[in-house]
Symmetry: C2
Subunit: 198 residues, 2 copies
Amino acid sequence: MASAKPDTRERMVGTAARLLATQGYHATGVAQVLEQSESPRGSLYFHFPEGKEQIAEEAIRQLGRQLGDVLRAKLDKKPDVRSGLGSLLRMFARQLESSAFQLGCPVATVALEAASASPGLRRACDEVFTSWEGYLAERLRRESPRRAEPERLARSLLAILEGALLLSKTRASTEPLRDAELSLDALLGDERTSGSRT
Amino acid sequence: MASAKPDTRERMVGTAARLLATQGYHATGVAQVLEQSESPRGSLYFHFPEGKEQIAEEAIRQLGRQLGDVLRAKLDKKPDVRSGLGSLLRMFARQLESSAFQLGCPVATVALEAASASPGLRRACDEVFTSWEGYLAERLRRESPRRAEPERLARSLLAILEGALLLSKTRASTEPLRDAELSLDALLGDERTSGSRT
């Protein structure tokens, strides 16, 4: 009868994802996840025998899939990579403004913390970034089949997006995101004119 | 007689800076700062009545000045912004490799944590990023006095640098930094040909 309600495990991962996206890894306690997901005390180690690192890895992968879906939808809906990424940057700007500049890239804070906190979590974050790069590279390749090194360009596009989100969150201003959107023209420019788009 | 040795306050800020740069804000405890700076127990609240947030703000400002000096030195030593930033990116790549990918941007982790942890610390991080942008914008203006909106370009250059550092640290690979260096040509390209460099 509980089919419409997510089960305990699912609720815990969803709550952890929300907390990690806003606060990061070290600020998020296991007790907070249990409380906010309304889960019984024993359920953490029942569902996640390896504890906080394990639930964090699953939550990061979930956040990665969710944002990956958004990224693909934006790229599918727009006629080219430039306008798809522009739409994504504007979505992030609105999200930052409506969250009092708490919600930037949901993975970035944990990714930076993970380097010293948890090798497994660092790998999970890297897999997320790599999958986003993969979507971007694929769309760049489809847009301009003769483009040289779409993977390299995809990495730089992700870098400027992540950096602009970091600066916008820190500044509590969407200006760095707007500037990054203008810089997309320079980053994609040469390729767009020399590519073989139809 | 203790003139050659940094005093307690100075040692505490230096230790906090080192810990914040690698671990971030939440993972760094006051006890750890006291222990690693070999400071007496009572000295934290004696020197920093507002506690952890206060010492973190001072440490972030110190890290900001130190990296600001490095940035200016790189830009002064090289004939143009492109080669100065290339040299900076290669310095970061060496630093990441020699620190087992622990040491990226010394401010970024704290900046992302600060949005939810401490308004004062967020402002300190923002001041650091703004000062780096200022150096960059000034050099861009000097290089090409007719360049339009050097502040905007400086912000995007800082964004790609920060994003590439984040991706390189997460990937435990210097590839994103190398790709970002290649993207500097596209970001600076138009301006370099249309600018009035001498």
